[in-house]
Amino acid sequence: MKHKTLFIILILLCLSPMLWAQSNKGKYSVVVIDDNNEETLPGATLYIESLKKAAITDRNGEAFFSNLPEGTFVVKISYVGYKSINKNITIIYGKSPKVVIRLTREANSLQEVVITGKTEARLLREQAMPVSVISMQQLQGTVSNIQDVLAKTVGVTIRSSGGVGAASRISVRGLEGKRIGFFIDGSPMNDNSDFIDINDIPVEMINRIEIYKGVVPAKFGGSAVGGAVNIVIREYPPKYLDANYTIESFNTHKASLALKRNIAEKGYEFGAGGFYTYSDNNYTMQSPFDDDLKIKRDHDQFKKYVGAVSFKARKWWFDLVEFELPFIRTEKQIQGIEYNIRQAHTTSNALVFANKMEKENFLTEGLDFENNISYAYTQFGLIDTAAYRVGWDGSIYPAISAKGGEIGMWASNSDNKKHILLHKLNLNYVINANHSLNFNSVFNWAYGIPQNPLKELVIGYKTDFNSHMKSWISGLSYDFRTSNDKLLNSLSAKYYFYAMNTTLASIVSPTPEKINMKKHDFGVSNALRYRITSDLMLKTALGYDVRLPSETELLGDGFIIAPAGNLEPERNTSINLGFLYDLTGKHRSNLQIEVNAFAMYLQNMIRFTGGFLQSQYQNFGEMRTIGIEAEVKADIASWLYGYTNATYQDLRDTRKFEQNTTVPNPTKGSRMPNIPYFMANAGLEFHKENLFGGKDQNSRLFADAAFVEEYLYDFEQSNFQERRIPRTISVNLGAEHSFMNGKITVSAKINNLTNTRMLSEFNRPLPGRNFGLRLRYVIK
């Protein structure tokens, strides 16, 4: 009841300003369309230089300016592959004209690609939050997955455990795992990691990647404390075909297809697409556990099938009503490293039904409405039933349990089913040019039905029971922007609620115990951006965020991992101070220099605690981070782009005492282990049109280097500690050539050019030098 009341109050808070909302003086709407086929152009950029105001067309090709002063101004309209135009607009108070602007295609589009991409990213960067935005238009062809993109980003490291399909963890300023939110188009994905990994999404389907650091905007409903990665999927033009095929080392094949067709007069759009990834991942690795042993990985096959169909209606009462039906299947073998694994593998399936509705000026002028509801049915299975183990040399060893198995402590033939319902509501109300409110609500319900009869046979009792889980995370944020746009302040508050009903078996009690738990918490953050000059801005952010314990952390596995119903949420206090100097679109160098200093204090860290027989997740201490990161990007010449960045992050244990004791903590002040503390990246890109003659062709050559300083796997104690992750310098090279004005693109790349021995953790060998070749065909 309390929560319902709170919800109503939040809604009222959100809606009440409508009562005194001012009329929109100086409003101007624009619809941008293709001069040739009259299709709308989503993502076109509009910029009024004299007012320093910018806008991007939405999915309907529409953009609007509000609170413009009276007068006549020049607006520049740009879109990828089209000639930019300047248009005079006249603003008269009380009138809200809507004009149609037609763009014509141009043969020579490269420069526009670059400018448009950066302008779009620039708008996001000018938010008050600390954020890195990577426009994929710049990176397509130069990367093979999101991991490659993130690895180049300042303050971000990726902890991959192997080849294609291997689990990877994103680390933002040293915080990683569940502390970092993972979103696709703003929808939280953390609980679906068995079904969709961040690397699964083909880069050609991505519009941009937003990496929020420290403070996570309230509009993202998840509970994250260290930052968030939001992947924005491309909005394809109404008529479109995009086909890709990539072949890479280790028998890796990736194919993707996106089709879109519309009925313009009815406003209907039909989409279908999907991708398939296959890899043997059969690279050779030096065993970290035996100097004389080189292993060709032969049980690391990965297959992923994703297919989806969609329907959009753009002329119903809502501006957009969308239905999507994706299906995902993953088959994954498990590669042994410490010891050989011959049979264990996993399968997972997910079927999702999703609906989205959007409407601008919903019920009242200035209120934008977005509603998402989705239902997912998922199934995950670990099959580990080998009757015996096989050594690297072919020796036969006993299975790990009486019922077989190669990994862990028991045989497994699990079949875990789950029904998940997710509702997300976002209401954004622009009160006037100076004030806006945003309310966000994410409600998640899940019903898990786990089964593992083999495990029960081994252990002798039932450990996995059905569970109900509910969570509601809501956020309210208030943005204040001065009329001259010098100051932007964003204040957010979040409320978290989490409830679970399940049954727990315990090794100390023969009778399963019913669990009903409820937890709630609050978080708050404020971010401020001040434009010192038109090119230089100051950004500060202060946040107090909460991460709720995950289901696994709370429930354990009923045997080896004990339940921990008393876990408290993690809390992170963060502060960020940054400067951004940005000449994008103003100077031919497009120079951007960004420097950020940051500090964080993480309390109630949830960590796994090993035990005699059972282990458990526990709230374990605290740590602090102090760091600085800097990045410079520029067009060094009209044909050469370069970037470089460096991050220094110092994470230290700040626990005064050892857990549950008054014994001084011997590692207080020590650097947190297994977290890199100094990283740097640099890269150059050469690009030229018609390099080899002909017309409508474009060539790009690029080189990237990444550096990570050596760091320790454990707390630093001894001068003779050997468990170190060595310093690495890796270099990637690539080339891309497009024909027919981008219709056909061929790209090739070499990763890890110097064949450096790369290790994740200190004993997860990564691939050596490897190659990839990609062909892309686009019809617009």
Binding site: E338, G391, S395, S509, G611, Q618, A630, V632, A705, S718
Partner: protein, 410 residues
């Protein structure tokens, strides 16, 4: 200075920094320190699954010792095996170290690495007994085999396959071992998955091997007491012989993890000259009273025999687990003196309850050293059996948990 110059300068800094040679020369001293006492310390990592484990020599009892000169060894493995001036370090039980047994020899009061013996992956190597200078047995819990090796040459000379002794599976789970009268007695845990034996299998099994032929003679079973799981593999002295040459076997009874069954922890005996269990001696530990302690015992976490039927041990006391608490950080182990002949236990006064990282018990001349990691203090304490007094404060305060202690003698 224009912007291109700034950019190029920054990129150069990155590359130059990358190319710099790091200065990682260890400062001074040989790895492993110097002295007549070896101490082990353990410091878990924040991920909880991994951590650092360190071993070093110190010269006598020293008030404070850091790990600066310690040798880093596999985390969470069995305690090293000591024989004379030799120390054998096992691979990590978690599998995150090299698959090898490493031998160090103490000479001039310092450790030198004397050789390695390559082991199968995921071997679960946890226990050694040495028959002679040229022959030793290495129990491998995870593969059901005993590796025979030459300790001088660190070469494998044979193996004994015990997989046929497994109950319900192909692995009897080899535990701690002892040699008596030319026979190798091998404790068997008979686990079938997780850390537990079958719920209905409450026997204690011991394999007996003829060390001349290196052949299995027989497996003996105690079937009446419901005392189960012979020996704790990572506790090297949990099978021992007294002055009468009687063998005592500490059995861990499924660690109390099979509630509602008849599994119990306890101590059994094989009398001198016999190769069967002594049916007249069954000492049930689970549920037993501890003099001076309100709560009853669970199982023996670690033990060392001191003579005259007296052993010193840590007893895991389930009653001290807080609700929802599990794992090594639970402070629930009580130091006791065990009177094996009279089947009684007595709390060691002056020592607080300790966590799972601080349960080492070792002999130091005619005294006993207890590693103890309580809620208030951490360190190695000195106990005098003659006066039954424990030192008021730790005689060695290490950095980290006091995980192991060995005295080489003067």
């Amino acid at each position: 200075m224009n912007k291109k110059t700034i950019l190029l300068a920054m990129m150069s800094i990155v590359l130059i920094t990358s190319a710099c040679k790091k200065n990682d020369d260890p400062e001074v001293n040989l790895p492993g320190g110097k002295g007549d006492i070896a101490i082990l310390t353990i410091i878990p990592n924040p991920d909880g699954m991994t951590g650092g484990q360190f071993i070093q020599l110190i010269d006598g009892l020293q008030p404070t010792v850091d790990n600066a000169n310690a040798i880093a060894v596999g985390y969470g493995g069995a305690s090293p095996y000591f024989n004379g001036n030799d120390m054998y370090v096992f691979p990590s039980y978690m599998g995150d170290t090299k698959n090898e047994l490493v031998k160090y020899t103490r000479s001039n009061r310092q450790f030198t690495k004397a050789g390695t013996l390559k082991l199968p992956e995921k071997s679960g190597a946890t226990n050694i007994v040495q028959l002679s200078a040229e022959k030793a047995y290495l129990g491998c819990a995870s593969i059901g085999k005993i590796i025979i090796f030459n300790p001088q040459k660190m070469e494998k000379t044979g193996e004994i396959d015990l997989t046929s002794l497994g109950i319900e599976d192909k692995n009897p789970d080899i535990g701690a071992m002892i040699i008596r009268d030319g026979l190798l007695y091998v404790g068997l845990n008979q686990m079938v998955g997780g850390w537990i034996p079958p719920a209905t299998y409450t026997n204690t099994d011991i394999a007996i091997i003829d060390t001349k032929a290196d052949k299995l003679l027989k497996m003996i079973s105690e079937t009446t007491s419901h005392i189960s799981m012979a020996t704790r593999p990572i506790d090297p002295y949990c099978i021992f012989a007294d002055e009468k040459n009687d063998i005592y076997v500490s059995c861990i009874g499924a660690f109390g993890m099979l509630p509602g069954t008849e599994h119990k922890a306890g101590v059994l005996r094989i009398k001198s000259g016999e190769t069967e269990f002594d049916q007249s001696y069954k000492y049930t530990i689970t549920g037993a009273a501890i003099q001076g302690e309100q709560k009853t015992a669970g199982f023996i976490s670690s033990i060392v025999y001191a003579g005259n039927g007296k052993a010193y041990a840590y007893i895991n006391v389930p009653g001290y687990y807080k609700p929802g608490e599990m794992g090594h950080s639970a402070i629930a182990d009580r130091a006791v003196e065990i009177d094996l002949y009279n089947k009684t236990m007595k709390k060691i006064e002056g020592l607080d309850l300790t966590n799972g990282y601080g349960i080492s018990v070792a002999k130091y001349d005619n005294k006993i050293i207890f590693g103890n990691a309580s809620a208030k203090n951490k360190g190695f304490y000195l106990y005098d059996p003659a006066t039954q007094k424990v030192s008021e404060k730790p005689v060695i305060v290490p950095v980290g948990n006091p995980y192991g202690f060995h005295y080489f003698g003067k």
